[in-house]
C-alpha cells in the first residue's frame, strides 16, 4: 500500500555519527571496467512540465549535451558532480561536532545550493539553537543561510556568501520507468558516495510528487542530487522505506526552478526565523486547502447496516473495508477506514495535513443492552492518539448529544493546537449513536495539522454526511 510506504518512510537526515572517512580520495576503480553502454533513448517530455520556459531550457540543454554523454561508469559520474556537491551540517549552539547532516548541490549560477527542507528544518524553526555549515569537496567550510523553503516538496535553497561551485544542470521531465539513475550524497557521514539504481517513474496517486527509485539511499544522502544517464539532476534524494529493500523516493527536479525563481537577485540572506516559520505554516495551509477542502460532488458514502457513512469527503481520500477483529464474540463489527496520509513533514517527528476516518457499526448478537453499551463505550474510548508534548498542547473538548440525520448521537470534539505553529490544529471527533440497544455506530474523524477553519469545515462535511436510512 502506497500510503503505508510513505508513512513508514525513514527520513534521510542523518544523526550525528562522526565516522571519519577519507573524503578527498576518489573511490577505488573497479577491477573490471564495464564496457561503456550506449545511452538509452531520450524520452519525450511527458507533458507535466513546470513551465514553457523550463521546457525550452530542457530542450536546449538536451541539444547541448547530446554530444557529451557520460559513460555508464559511476566513477565518471561522481567525478563530474564532485565539486558541485556539498555536505550540509547542522550544529547545536557552539558545538564543534555536527548534530545532523545532509547533502546539497549547486544549481543555477553556482551560488545557490538545493537541499531538502527536512535537512535544514531544525535551523529554520530554531535559528538560535542551530546553525548550518557547508563542507565543500575541497575542504572549505562556511556558514549557510536559508533563502527559500518548499515544505510540500521538501525542498530548500540555501547559500553561502562567498561560495560559488560548478552548478549541476536540471532535468525537468520525469525519467522513464527503468532508466538507469545514480544518487549522490554523504550516507551516514561516510564521505561522498554514489549509488546506482533504476528510476521507476512517479509514484501513482500520491498527493505529493515523488519518483520511485530502486537503489540504495541512506540517512545523510538527503538533499543530494539524483542523476540521469547524462549527468543531469532529475531529482533530489528525499526518503527511503525503512526495513525494505532499496525502495527510495526522489523529489522531481521540476519543483526546483519555481523555488529558485523566488530567490532571484539580490540575494536576501536576512530572512528572520519568524518569517520562515510563517512560510512553513502558510505553505501547509495552501497544501491542505487543495487537498482537504476540495469536495467531490456529491460526497461519496458507503452504506453499512442502514448507516450512510462518508468516505470520499475529499478526492484524495483512500478507503478500505477493514476486517477488524471484534471486541467481543457477541458483537459484530463492520469497519470502513478512510484516510489522507499526513505527508508534509514540518519538523522532526511532526507530519501534518493528514486525515483519517474510521466508521464502525457494531451489532449486538444477544448481549444485554447494558453489556452492549459497555462494549460500545470501550471501543469509543479506545483509539490511541499519538503526539508528543514537545510539539502539541493538550486537547480542549466539547461534548453533547446531537440529533443527526436519522439518528441521535453523542459527539465529542477535541481540538489541540501546535506549540510551534499556532495556525495548525489537531481535530479529534468521535460520534457514537445512542438510540438503538442492539446496534451502534462508533465513528471517528481525526485531522492532523490543519487550520481551524479547514478543520471545522471538514468536520461539518463529515457530520452532515452521516445518515441513518433503514
Amino acid at each position: 500500500m502506497k500510503v503505508a510506504r510513505f508513512v513508514a518512510a525513514l527520513w534521510l537526515c542523518g544523526s550525528a555519527t562522526v565516522i571519519a572517512a577519507p573524503q578527498d580520495e576518489p573511490p577505488a576503480p573497479a577491477a573490471e571496467v564495464p564496457p561503456v553502454e550506449p545511452p538509452p533513448e531520450e524520452q519525450a517530455p511527458d507533458g507535466e512540465q513546470a513551465s514553457d520556459e523550463a521546457a525550452a531550457d530542457a530542450a536546449a540543454l538536451d541539444a547541448e549535451i547530446a554530444s557529451q554523454e557520460l559513460s555508464g561508469d559511476a566513477q565518471v559520474r561522481l567525478d563530474a558532480a564532485r565539486d558541485a556537491v556539498v555536505q550540509i551540517r547542522g550544529f547545536f549552539h557552539k558545538s564543534e561536532t555536527s548534530a545532523f547532516h545532509g547533502s546539497g548541490f549547486a544549481v543555477d549560477d553556482g551560488r545557490r545550493i538545493v537541499t531538502n527542507y527536512h535537512v535544514v528544518a531544525q535551523a529554520v524553526l530554531h535559528p538560535r539553537q542551530y546553525r548550518l555549515e557547508y563542507l565543500a569537496s575541497d575542504g572549505r567550510t562556511g556558514p549557510l543561510h536559508i533563502l527559500a523553503i518548499d515544505v510540500r516538496n521538501d525542498l530548500a535553497v540555501v547559500a553561502a556568501e562567498d561560495l560559488e561551485l560548478p552548478p549541476l544542470r536540471l532535468r525537468s521531465e520525469i525519467p522513464a520507468q527503468g532508466e538507469r539513475a545514480w544518487s549522490i550524497g554523504f550516507p551516514l557521514n561516510l564521505g561522498l558516495t554514489i549509488t546506482e539504481g533504476v528510476a521507476n517513474g512517479l509514484v501513482e496517486d500520491s498527493i505529493v510528487q515523488r519518483i520511485h527509485y530502486t537503489g540504495a539511499i541512506n540517512g545523510g544522502m538527503s538533499g543530494g542530487p539524483a542523476l540521469d544517464t547524462r549527468g543531469r539532476v532529475y531529482g533530489v534524494n528525499v526518503s527511503v522505506v525503512s526495513g525494505r529493500q532499496l525502495v527510495g523516493f526522489i523529489v522531481p527536479a521540476r519543483h526546483i526552478p519555481p523555488l529558485l525563481a523566488r530567490v532571484r537577485e539580490p540575494m536576501d540572506l536576512s530572512l528572520s526565523a519568524q518569517q520562515l516559520r510563517q512560510r512553513v505554516t502558510a505553505q501547509v495551509l495552501a497544501y491542505e486547502a487543495e487537498v482537504l477542502e476540495t469536495q467531490p460532488d456529491p460526497a461519496a458514502t458507503q452504506s453499512v447496516q442502514g448507516y450512510a457513512l462518508p468516505t470520499q469527503i475529499s478526492p484524495h481520500v483512500e478507503c478500505s473495508t477493514v476486517d477488524e477483529s471484534s471486541p467481543h464474540v457477541l458483537v459484530g463489527v463492520d469497519t470502513v477506514s478512510c484516510w489522507i496520509p499526513a505527508l508534509i513533514r514540518v519538523q522532526q517527528g511532526v507530519h501534518v495535513a493528514g486525515l483519517s476516518m474510521r466508521h464502525r457499526v457494531l451489532q449486538s448478537e444477544g448481549l444485554h443492552p447494558l453489556q452492549f453499551e459497555r462494549q460500545v463505550n470501550r471501543l469509543a474510548a479506545a483509539p490511541r492518539r499519538t503526539g508528543s508534548a514537545a510539539h502539541v498542547s493538550p486537547f480542549a473538548c466539547r461534548d453533547a448529544l446531537v440529533s443527526l440525520d436519522g439518528f441521535d448521537a453523542r459527539i465529542s470534539t477535541c481540538v489541540r493546537q501546535y506549540r510551534l505553529f499556532a495556525g495548525l490544529y489537531d481535530f479529534d471527533v468521535t460520534v457514537v449513536s445512542i438510540d438503538d440497544e442492539h446496534q451502534a455506530l462508533v465513528s471517528r474523524l481525526a485531522l492532523q495539522g490543519v487550520s481551524f477553519d479547514t478543520g471545522k469545515k471538514t468536520m461539518e462535511r463529515y457530520l452532515g454526511a452521516l445518515q441513518w436510512r433503514p
Binding site: R374, Q375, V376, S393, V402, Q417, E437, F452
Partner: protein, 326 residues
C-alpha cells in the same frame, strides 16, 4: 470531686471519688499517696488536690522539678490553682478532675442501637450488596465463562470486605477485648456498597441529565460515606471520644482523597493525547435526553479555538519553546 486517670486514648483507666470539705488527694509515685502513678517523670510526692468548702478544688505542686500543669498551664509553686474542672498533668500522666459545679446533661441516645441489634441481618445484606456489585461489574463485560467471572467478582468483593473488617476486628480486640466482627462487617460492607452502587447510579443519572458536574457531587458523597464508615469503625474499635474520632476519621478521609486525587492528576495532567469524551454513552438513554441541533453544536465548537489557545498558552508557560520569538 471525681479524679480519673486518663489512658492513651482518652478513656478513664482509674476513677476515684473524694467527698467532704478539706479532703485531700495526694498524687505521686509514693505508695502512701491517694493516687499512685507509675510514671518516672513524677515525683514521689508530686501534687496535692484539696476539696474546698465551696466544692472547688485547690491544686498545689509539692515543689517538684517538672512541676504540675492544669489545662496546660504550670501551677505556681507558692499559690496553687483553684479549679472547678480540668486536666491535671503530673509528669506525663493525665488526670481529669470534675466537681459538683460541673453541670451534667441528660443522657445521649445510643443511635447505633439499631445496628447493634440487627447486625447479623445488616452484615449479610451489606456483604451481598458488595458481592453483587463485584459480580455485576464482571457480568457487564459479558465474559465468555460467565459463571467463573461472576463468581470471581463476588469472591474478590467478599475477600476485600473480610480483610478490611478483620483488621478492624483485631484492633477492637486489642483495645476493647471483644472482636465485634459483625459490626465491622456491617460498617465496611454497607459503606462499600453505597460507594460502588452510588457511583454507578450517579454516572447513569449524570448522563441522563446531561450534567457532568453531577459526577463531582457523587464523588463528594462518596467522600462523606468514607468519612462516616471510618468514624463508625473507630468508635467501635477505640476509646477515643467523639470529637477526637471525628478528627481522626476526617484526617484519614482527607489523606485517602488526596492520594486518589494525586493519582488521578498524575495520570491526566499534561497528557497531550488524553481526550475527555464526557460521560459514558448510555444507549437507550436518548428518550430521556433532549438533543441539541447540529448547528447549535457546531456553533459551540467555535469556542474550542479559544479553549485550545488557552491550553497552548498553558503549555508554553509550563515548557517554553526554545527561541520561540525573535
Amino acid at each position: 470531686m471525681l479524679v480519673e486517670q486518663v489512658g492513651m486514648q482518652g478513656q478513664a483507666v482509674l476513677r476515684q471519688r473524694f467527698a467532704g470539705a478539706g479532703t485531700e488527694c495526694r498524687v505521686g509515685r509514693d505508695l502512701g499517696c491517694d493516687i499512685v502513678v507509675d510514671d518516672e517523670h513524677a515525683a514521689p510526692q508530686h501534687a496535692l488536690l484539696t476539696l474546698l468548702e465551696d466544692g472547688r478544688v485547690n491544686v498545689r505542686d509539692l515543689g517538684t522539678r517538672n512541676g504540675t500543669r492544669v489545662d496546660g498551664k504550670l501551677v505556681p509553686a507558692d499559690a496553687g490553682a483553684i479549679i472547678e474542672q480540668g486536666e491535671i498533668i503530673v509528669g506525663t500522666t493525665r488526670l481529669r478532675v470534675r466537681t459538683r459545679h460541673v453541670p451534667i446533661g441528660t443522657e445521649r441516645v445510643f443511635r447505633r442501637e439499631f445496628v447493634r441489634r440487627h447486625r447479623t441481618l445488616l452484615a449479610t445484606a451489606g456483604v451481598l450488596a458488595c458481592a453483587g456489585f463485584g459480580a455485576f461489574v464482571q457480568w457487564l463485560d459479558a465474559p465468555s465463562s460467565m459463571l467463573r467471572s461472576v463468581t470471581k467478582g463476588g469472591l474478590v468483593a467478599c475477600g476485600l470486605i473480610a480483610l478490611w473488617s478483620g483488621l478492624w476486628a483485631l484492633t477492637t480486640k486489642l483495645n476493647q477485648g471483644t472482636w465485634r466482627v459483625r459490626l465491622h462487617v456491617t460498617i465496611a460492607s454497607i459503606g462499600a456498597a453505597l460507594c460502588a452502587w452510588g457511583y454507578w447510579v450517579v454516572g447513569l443519572v449524570s448522563f441522563t441529565a446531561q450534567w457532568p458536574e453531577l459526577v463531582h457531587i457523587g464523588i463528594a458523597a462518596i467522600g462523606v460515606a468514607v468519612l462516616a464508615a471510618l468514624y463508625l469503625h473507630l468508635r467501635e474499635a477505640t476509646h477515643y471520644r467523639r470529637r477526637m474520632t471525628f478528627a481522626l476519621a476526617g484526617a484519614a478521609t482527607l489523606v485517602i482523597g488526596a492520594v486518589a486525587w494525586i493519582i488521578a492528576i498524575g495520570v491526566d495532567d499534561g497528557d497531550v493525547n488524553r481526550v475527555n469524551l464526557g460521560p459514558e454513552v448510555r444507549l437507550g438513554a436518548a428518550r430521556f435526553v433532549p438533543n441539541r441541533d447540529i448547528s447549535d453544536y457546531l456553533a459551540g465548537v467555535d469556542e474550542l479555538r479559544l479553549a485550545a489557545a488557552r491550553e497552548r498558552q498553558k503549555s508554553l508557560l509550563n515548557a517554553p519553546l526554545a527561541d520561540a520569538d525573535d
